[in-house]
C-alpha cells in the first residue's frame, strides 16, 4: 500500500532483551568442562573396545559451557563412536549404561538429529529405538525440558 518513508530500524530491536522481568538461568560456572577426551576415545575405537569407547565419550558432557566449539566437537565425537558400532551390538551397549547415561545419550541423539549428514540419521534412529526401550518416554521428555543442552 503506501510506502513507509520513515526509518523502520526499530523493528529489528529485540524487545525481549530489555524486559526487566526476563528469566535468566542461573550460571553454574562450567568453564572447565572440556567435553569427552578425544585421544582416549580414539584409541579405544582403534583397539576395537566399543563399549569402553561409548563409556568414555559419555563422560564430561559439555553441558554448562557457552563455547559452541566444544559442544560441536563433543557431538562429532559421539557421532563417530555411535557410527562405528555394529547394529547387533547397539542393544547390549545401551543396556550397559545407567539411567543418567541413557538420558545423556538421548540428548546427543537429538542433537545429532538437528544437523543430519548423509548416514547419521539412520544410525541415530537405530540408537534412538534402543535408547527409548531403555529410558522410556521420560528420557525424551528430559531432552525437551533440559535448560542446559549438550
Amino acid at each position: 500500500m503506501s510506502k513507509n518513508t520513515v526509518s523502520d530500524r526499530f523493528r529489528k530491536v529485540d524487545v525481549d532483551e530489555y524486559d526487566e522481568n526476563k528469566f535468566v538461568d542461573e550460571e553454574e560456572g562450567g568453564e572447565n568442562q572440556i567435553g569427552p577426551d578425544e585421544a582416549e576415545v580414539d584409541s579405544l575405537i582403534r583397539q576395537g573396545n566399543m563399549m569402553g569407547a561409548l563409556q568414555a565419550v559419555l563422560k564430561n558432557p559439555p553441558i554448562n559451557t557457552k563455547n559452541q566449539n566444544v559442544k560441536d566437537r563433543a557431538e562429532g565425537l559421539v557421532l563417530k563412536v555411535l557410527s562405528s558400532f555394529k547394529s547387533s551390538d547397539i542393544e547390549k551397549a545401551v543396556q550397559s549404561l545407567d539411567k543418567n547415561a541413557v538420558d545423556l545419550l538421548m540428548k546427543y541423539i537429538y542433537k545429532g538429529f538437528e544437523r543430519p549428514s548423509e548416514n547419521s540419521s539412520a544410525v541415530l534412529l537405530q540408537w534412538h529405538e534402543k535408547a527409548l526401550a531403555a529410558g522410556g518416554v521420560g528420557s525424551i521428555v528430559r531432552v525437551l525440558t533440559a535448560r542446559k543442552t549438550v
Binding site: F23, G136, V137, G138, V141, R142, A146, R147
Partner: protein, 368 residues
C-alpha cells in the same frame, strides 16, 4: 474403582466437602458446579456464577464450610452458604495476571493464591473492616506459581513454580496467629522467608505436597521426575527420574508412600525410604479390565487391515481415565493413612480409588 463421567470437557479443578457427599468442580468454564451424591449417581444442586474467567482453583474448607475459588479473571471469591444459597465475597488479590491455584490453610483462617503475576497472595480476614486483606510473597519467585500446599502448622507454605523450583515460604500473619514453634525447616519464620528452595530437578513444578507430619515435601516436575525433600539442618533431596510422561499431581498417602498421576492417565505409587534416602517406583495403580482376548477371525483381520492398516486391535488406552489426570485429592484417612483418594482429569471423569482394593488387586504392591 468407580469411574464417573461428569462431563465431556476437562474438569479444571475440584474440591470435596467435609463428609464427602458433595463435590464442587469447574467444568472448564466460568462457573462452579456443586454436585450431591444421591444413591449411585450425582445431581447438580448449585451453580456458582461469579467469575469472569475460567475457574482455576477451588478449595472447600471442611470445618467452616466455606469455598474459595480463584480464576483467570485475577479474582478470588470466598463463598458462604446462607440458607440454601452460596453467597460470594470478593477478595482483592492485587494481581495483574491469572490466579492459578488456591488452598485454605489447615486452621482455615487464611488462604493462599498462586498466580501468574509471579507472587503468592496470602489472604486473611480483617474483622474491623469486614474484609479479606492480602499480603504478597514476591521474592525470589521468578515465574508463575502452579501449585501450593500448607504445612500442618498453618504457617509454612510449599509452592511449586514455573521457574523450575519448589520452595517453602513462611506465610506467618501476626494478626491472626501466634508465633509458630520451630520445625525441621527452620525456626525463624518471618513472613515471606524462604525456608527451603529445591535444586537438581529441571522442569516446571506441577504438583507439591507436604507429608502428614510436615517434615517431608514431595513435588512432581515436568522433566518426568518426582522428588522428596526432608527437612533438617541441611535438607536432603531425593529424586527419581521416571520413564513415563510428566506427572501433574502428587500426594502423600502415608508418611512414606506417595501417589502421583499425570499425562499417562494412571496413578502410580512411589515409596520413599528415609533412612536410605531412596525413592522408588512402587507400581501402576490402575486395574485394567481384563478384556476377553478372543482370537481374531480372518474376516476381522482383513477388516482391520482395511480400516486401520494394521492387523492387531490397536492399543486402546487401558486405564480408567482416558485423558491426563490433573488433580488428586484425599477422601478418607488423611495424608497419614489414606484409605480413599479421588482423581479428576481432562476426560471430564472422576474416579474414587480404594487403597485396600488396590493393595489386594496388585500382588507386589506394598504401601508402607
Amino acid at each position: 474403582m468407580a469411574y464417573h463421567s461428569f462431563l465431556l470437557e476437562p474438569i479444571s479443578c475440584h474440591a470435596w466437602n467435609k463428609d464427602r457427599t458433595q463435590i464442587a468442580l469447574c467444568p472448564n468454564n466460568h462457573d462452579v458446579h456443586i454436585y450431591k451424591k444421591e444413591g449411585s449417581g450425582w445431581t447438580k444442586i448449585h451453580v456458582l456464577k461469579e467469575h469472569n474467567g475460567q475457574v482455576t482453583g477451588i478449595d472447600w474448607a471442611p470445618e467452616s464450610n466455606r469455598i474459595v475459588t480463584c480464576g483467570t479473571d485475577r479474582n478470588a471469591y470466598v463463598w458462604s452458604l446462607k440458607g440454601d444459597v452460596w453467597k460470594p465475597t470478593l477478595v482483592i488479590l492485587r494481581i495483574n495476571r491469572a490466579a492459578r491455584c488456591v488452598k485454605w490453610s489447615p486452621k482455615e483462617n487464611k488462604f493462599a493464591v498462586g498466580s501468574g503475576s509471579r507472587l503468592i497472595s496470602v489472604c486473611y480476614f480483617e474483622q474491623e473492616n469486614d474484609w479479606w486483606v492480602c499480603k504478597h510473597i514476591k521474592k525470589p519467585i521468578r515465574s508463575t506459581i502452579l501449585c501450593l500446599d500448607w504445612h500442618p502448622n498453618n504457617v509454612l507454605l510449599a509452592a511449586g513454580s514455573c521457574d523450575f523450583k519448589c520452595r517453602i515460604f513462611s506465610a506467618y500473619i501476626k494478626e491472626v496467629e501466634e508465633k509458630p514453634a520451630p520445625t525441621p525447616w527452620g525456626s525463624k519464620m518471618p513472613f515471606g522467608e524462604v525456608m527451603f528452595e529445591s535444586s537438581g530437578t529441571a522442569g516446571w513444578v506441577h504438583g507439591v505436597c507436604f507429608s502428614d507430619s510436615g517434615n517431608r515435601v514431595a513435588w512432581a516436575s515436568h522433566d518426568s521426575t518426582v522428588a522428596v525433600a526432608e527437612g533438617g539442618k541441611s535438607a536432603t533431596i531425593t529424586s527419581l527420574t521416571s520413564e513415563t510422561l510428566p506427572l501433574l499431581c502428587v500426594t502423600f498417602i502415608t508418611e512414606n508412600s506417595l501417589v502421583a498421576a499425570g499425562h499417562d492417565c494412571y496413578p502410580a505409587l512411589f515409596v520413599y525410604n528415609g533412612d536410605k534416602g531412596a525413592l522408588t517406583f512402587g507400581g501402576k495403580l490402575d486395574v485394567p479390565k481384563q478384556s476377553a482376548q478372543k482370537g481374531m477371525t480372518a474376516r476381522e483381520r482383513f477388516q482391520n487391515l482395511d480400516k486401520k492398516a494394521s492387523e492387531s486391535k490397536e492399543a486402546v488406552l487401558e486405564s480408567l481415565h482416558k485423558n491426563s489426570i490433573s488433580q488428586i485429592t484425599i477422601l478418607e484417612g488423611g495424608k497419614a493413612k489414606c484409605t480413599k483418594f479421588c482423581t479428576t482429569g481432562m476426560d471430564g471423569g472422576m474416579v474414587v480409588w480404594d487403597v485396600k482394593t488396590l493393595e489386594s488387586a496388585m500382588k507386589d504392591l506394598k504401601i508402607i
